[in-house]
């Protein structure tokens, strides 16, 4: 059984090893670069004594903008781990059962001395363990490489203006830490189930791609944001020349915001409220029209509206609980899908 699984998966196994080797060749030699930028910008002092953070963050953001390689590698690592579940589902999960069903060779394989339940269990265990290992190693590689960048995003002084997205927000959360392992297992399970139900590999691959894209978009919006009630922080909208803030006027509408000060947090929503607590969208004060007043007059007029900015966010210290929860939930879901596939296969498959 082990031999047969290896024989049928050796192309995928070599491809996975080659990909892992290529990732090591890229991320291991360049591992010092994010750390060097972190140190050179003076962020260690900010981390230790909480002094000079604004200055250090500005220097760090500037050096990241200058070093396009680090930025590109950061985004490459994120992209790689985000598409990994779909790739595993399509090329490891789908053929696991569907290759036999499509070619008719299940009539040979499932009439040997090994029952098909055992056949499936062994394959799921071997391919699942390989998936776990591959996704774990890739995530470890990328997460360790990006650790200084993630740490910088969680230090104060950045005021949400950092050059790279933080690790808690939607694109990066599923690509760093433990979550990639859960997502990889889930992708594999979706692939196996799609292959078993559709019996045709190409159709099943298309379904895997569509399902994973939909789930990867839906989970951050509909599930992850509500795992724990977000923290609410109200802050008066007070604009001053020396403090960052954004004023945007579109016709009758006025958008005004001040930075949310929650380093390392995932800001789920930001709304502007009027003095009596209703959502504020405008209109803009007359002096804000370009031909009427100056910028200073506009700021004063906006301050006089006594607006409040209400931010809802998941604070930084919830990062690891969220990672564990998401990984465990995905692993359990994958196990449930695999168990359902085993039950379905026991009932027999009409030819």
């Amino acid at each position: 059984m082990i031999w047969l699984t290896w024989r049928q998966y050796r192309a995928q196994a070599w491809t996975a090893l080659a990909a892992l080797a290529a990732a090591c060749a890229v991320y291991l030699p360049s591992g010092h670069r994010p750390a060097d930028l972190y140190a050179a910008a003076g962020l260690p002092a900010c981390a230790d004594t909480a002094t000079g953070c604004a200055q250090a963050q500005a220097a760090f953001a500037a050096s990241l903008r200058a070093d396009s390689t680090v930025t590109a590698l950061f985004h490459l690592g994120t992209a790689l781990l985000l598409i990994l579940p779909a790739l595993l589902g399509m090329f490891a999960g789908v053929p696991l059962v569907a290759r036999e069903l499509e070619s008719g060779s299940f009539r040979l394989t499932w009439t040997q001395g090994v029952t098909r339940t055992r056949w499936l269990t062994v394959r799921l265990a071997l391919v699942g363990a390989s998936t776990l290992l591959l996704s774990g190693l890739l995530s470890l590689l990328v997460t360790r490489w990006a650790a200084p960048l993630d740490r910088a995003a969680a230090l104060p002084g950045g005021d949400g203006e950092s050059a790279l997205p933080g690790r808690f927000g939607p694109p990066v959360f599923a690509a760093h830490g433990l979550a990639p392992v859960g997502w990889a297992l889930f992708g594999l399970a979706v692939g196996v189930a799609a292959g078993l139900l559709l019996r045709r590999q190409v159709a099943a691959m298309a379904v895997v791609l569509a399902v994973l894209a939909a789930v990867q978009i839906a989970v951050p919006l509909l599930v992850r944001a509500h795992v724990a009630a977000p923290v609410r922080a109200d802050r008066a909208v007070a604009l001053a020349p020396d403090r960052p803030g954004v004023i945007r006027i579109e016709g009758r509408r006025l958008y005004v915001s001040v930075p949310v000060s929650a380093p390392g947090a995932w800001v789920v929503s930001v709304r502007t409220l009027t003095a009596d607590g209703r959502p504020f969208t405008g209109p803009a004060p007359d002096v804000c029209r370009p031909d009427v007043g100056s910028l200073a007059q506009c700021r004063e007029a906006i301050d006089a509206l006594h607006l409040t900015q209400r931010a809802e966010y998941q604070p930084a210290d919830r990062y690891w609980p969220f990672q564990w929860a998401e990984t465990a939930a995905l692993a359990l879901l994958s196990a449930a899908v695999a168990a359902a596939c085993t039950v379905r296969l026991r009932r027999g498959v009409p030819a």
């Binding site: 060779s105 009539r107 090994v114 009932r347 009409p350 030819a351």
Partner: protein
């Protein structure tokens, strides 16, 4: 050896088999005949445990065809399914890995006698060679029951005769019970001593050939007569 009582199997589209009661005693070579779509493949897949009956009871080798009992059943599916990307030698390895009882030396020798190149991929074998490989895999596990689903349907006359000769020889050597389907009566007439006629999902006649053909009737004429009645 095989006992089926009121066996039925329903697919999404409707009943493929209904109320089938038949048996094959040990040591027989039974032929299963019927037109295309009569339910022959369904019946054979029930017998080897690839499908479970929707209703009724099917006992093979003393119990339902599942678990360790499957190791004692050899099966050659329709169109002799093999793994296209595996070589002949790898198929033998597959058989030895997946079966507790596996006659490695015999399988080797038979591949040699057939003149099959062990390093050739199954996808590049001819239809006759593929059928012989599938038969070798089914026989090398030393089955008590051998089930074959239209094994010669896709073969040319020469390969067809060679295959049936191999089968008769193997049966004489091992004494295994055989159940083989075909839509051509002539394939079965040669060696079978037991017959099951299937028409539109029901058993139309079943029993030893000598009983069915009492009075010196011709087999082909008898089967046609049974199937005409089924219409």
């Amino acid at each position: 050896m095989i006992e089926a009582r009121d066996v039925g199997r329903r697919y999404r589209g409707g009943w493929a088999l209904r109320g089938c009661t038949w048996e094959v005693p040990a040591g027989r070579m039974a032929g299963l005949v019927g037109p295309n779509g009569a339910g022959k493949s369904t019946l054979l897949q029930l017998t080897v445990g690839l499908l479970r009956p929707t209703e009724g009871e099917l006992r093979v080798l003393g119990g339902p065809p599942a678990g360790p009992r499957l190791a004692r059943i050899g099966f050659v599916g329709q169109d002799a399914p093999v793994h296209r990307s595996l070589t002949v030698a790898e198929h033998l390895r597959l058989g030895s890995r997946l079966n507790r009882t596996w006659d490695r030396a015999w399988a080797r020798r038979r591949i040699d006698e057939l003149g099959l190149d062990p390093h050739r991929r199954a996808a590049r074998l001819s239809g006759g060679q593929r059928a012989q490989l599938a038969l070798t895999l089914a026989l090398a596990k030393r089955p008590d029951l051998l089930v074959l689903d239209e094994p010669v349907a896709a073969l040319d006359p020469l390969a067809r005769r060679e295959f049936l000769d191999s089968l008769a020889q193997a049966r004489a050597d091992s004494g295994a019970t055989v159940l083989m389907s075909s839509h051509l009566v002539s394939d079965l007439a040669r060696d079978c001593d037991h017959l099951i006629v299937l028409g539109r999902g029901r058993v139309r006649a079943a029993g030893p050939l000598t009983d069915l053909l009492a009075g010196g009737r011709d087999l082909e004429a008898y089967v046609l007569e049974q199937l005409e009645e089924a219409r």
